[in-house]
Symmetry: C2
Subunit: 358 residues, 2 copies
């Protein structure tokens, strides 16, 4: 039944043959995101839009090249995310949002759909590639999640490339934080919307309901990068990397490094990476819920991801989106915000690079 | 259909009326655990068994009293876990296992099934009740998870009771750590079994397969306490608290504070708290998987929990167990190890306090 669907999918999803790359015998697929939020045409200069698109293309090509030469889904995910971590346009690695203390504290996770092995790190300040560290945790430690100074110590033992924290910090992020802190005194954040950091969840939720602009800063405040891949051996992988939440305090951990919430992969169902207001994604266990719907109801990847992103998450008030791929190479990238930086080449070879809803 | 099952359950599960407490009109239920592992009669002195049973009874009574007087499931879970945290017999709060550095670093999480609000903390060293702090994170911060020094700072702002780290540390835990560190040099831990902390997951898994005794230390090495409850208003809650893994390094975080893995609650399905080898519980997203099976397949709580604990987890090699309660007050406490410290009063008023498999 699945094979039939896969065959149908291969026949049906290439309406414009001239833009499609040749579909390999066994499908390979890659999808990535660079954050979701109120990304509106009027707020994005043509120059910035072009630069973001170029970065998305570059990351997509880097990961897809790995798959094309027969590399693993894990390698493709890592290669994709490392490009996004090094790009200043996204909230991960270089260009990460800053904590209340003005530092970059990075989180990342990776999961291997073949074995359901997983690695995750949080509060990273000196490791150049958090996604690389997450993978080392998965492959070279008996643990799944390491945080803070302990995770840095493990990175040291593993001989990973270290940088000073300044390496990650852009001047515009400092300015963003300065404005946020100034506004914080009045209860509003850098985007002129009620700031969640010092109010109760109830008050924040009320503010969210009352202010259509509140999600306006989501891309900046909660941005994330991520990738999912299917390799020629039929193995899936997912990874996510982020600077977390702008102005975060108290050692806050979002959904990106939480296996099941922001990152999940299982060859039996799908690989998922999420981006959005992490607290809601943790509570809804978003990535694992999508996999569970597929596994236990037989709904398709697209139906399952849509049910969570446009259903459960919207009911809870959680803005954001996901990228996901299944063992047949089908890709879905739903989001409930005005925009999500995203790109993919699905199992039929169709290439997508997009920012807005259309 | 559900009501019919509930009615049948109420009729069927009270075989020994004399030991059952009177069942209230609307069911209330509470279950707790104090860790799972190779708990064998021959290794437990009568004195220790009596002391552990007394602690389980005391925690059960503390939580159930809250429910009996109409209190919330959340209050019952917190009351139960605070007794277990203060007891020296379990790996949580006082009596926690020690890190490689000889300190106690505590994790906890709580989730409200009514709203799916959640709070979690990791790496706590000076807050007397980690479960209380997790609840404050849920109720008084906009975040779900706080770790390390940041979480401690938040505790300070909230005015929670602080203690020195020594408050949590028992002499026998120091001795346990000393033996473990001595054996570590030869690659074996305090229990004389291959130690996972410095080998690859593959080597550890190989050792696990080769050594039937490896799980022998699980109760000591991976113990956890937890509680789940159903209150008179039909609301579910779950909580978990732990010292984590004995001899842990590198800021290791286990499943207890990972929402969906060690702790999950949703009024629509069930409340779950897990105990066992945390890395596997994270990878299998155990607590949320049980809820998903109920939600998406219609299997009962007992069937769903059994499918995960005796199915997926065993396939992965993950030893441990869970306690779970559903909105009808049914309780299940499956484990795939020789024993699990556990106690419950289900919706029909049946009281259980048990350690071994029989």
């Amino acid at each position: 039944m699945r094979l039939l669907f896969a065959a149908l999918a291969l026949l049906m999803v290439s309406p414009v043959a001239s833009t499609a790359q040749p579909a390999p015998e066994r499908p390979i697929a890659l999808a990535l995101h660079g954050g979701a939020g109120t990304i509106l045409r009027q707020n994005l200069t043509p120059e910035r839009e072009a630069a973001v698109r170029a970065a998305l293309e570059q990351a997509l090509d880097a990961g897809y090249a790995v798959l094309l030469r027969g590399g693993t889904a894990l390698d493709a995910v890592e290669a994709t995310i490392r490009v996004l971590e090094e790009s200043p346009h996204f909230n991960a690695g270089v260009g990460a949002v800053l904590t209340d203390a003005g530092t970059a504290e990075l989180d990342a996770a990776v999961m291997d759909g073949r074995t359901r092995a997983a690695g995750a790190v949080s509060g990273i300040t000196t490791v150049r590639s958090p996604i690389q560290l997450a993978r080392r945790v998965m492959e070279r430690s008996p643990h799944v999640m390491l945080v803070g100074a302990g995770a840095e110590e493990f990175a040291g033992q593993q001989g990973l490339e270290r940088v000073t924290n300044d390496f990650f910090i852009l001047p515009e992020r400092r300015e963003q934080l300065r404005r946020m802190q100034e506004n914080r005194r009045t209860g509003f954040n850098a985007l002129g919307v009620p700031d969640p950091s010092f109010v109760s969840p109830e008050r924040f939720d009320a503010a969210l309901a009352a202010s259509p602009d509140l999600s306006g800063g989501m891309e900046h405040k909660f941005g994330t990068v991520g990738a999912v891949a299917l390799d020629r051996d039929g193995n899936l992988a997912a990874g996510t990397s982020t600077g977390g939440m702008m102005g975060k305090k108290f050692g806050r951990v979002g959904d990106a490094p939480i296996i099941g919430a922001g990152t999940y992969a299982d060859n039996a169902t799908c690989a998922v990476s999420a981006t959005g207001h992490g607290e809601y994604f943790i509570r809804a266990v978003v990535a694992h819920d999508i996999a569970s719907i597929i596994r236990y109801t037989g709904l398709s990847l697209t139906q399952a991801a849509s049910a969570v992103v446009h259903g459960s998450l919207v009911e809870m008030g959680g803005g954001g989106g996901v990228i996901a791929v299944d063992p047949q190479g089908r890709v879905t990238m739903p989001f409930n915000t005005p925009g999500m930086y995203r790109a993919a080449i699905d199992g039929a070879g169709n290439r997508t690079v997009a920012i807005f809803r259309d």
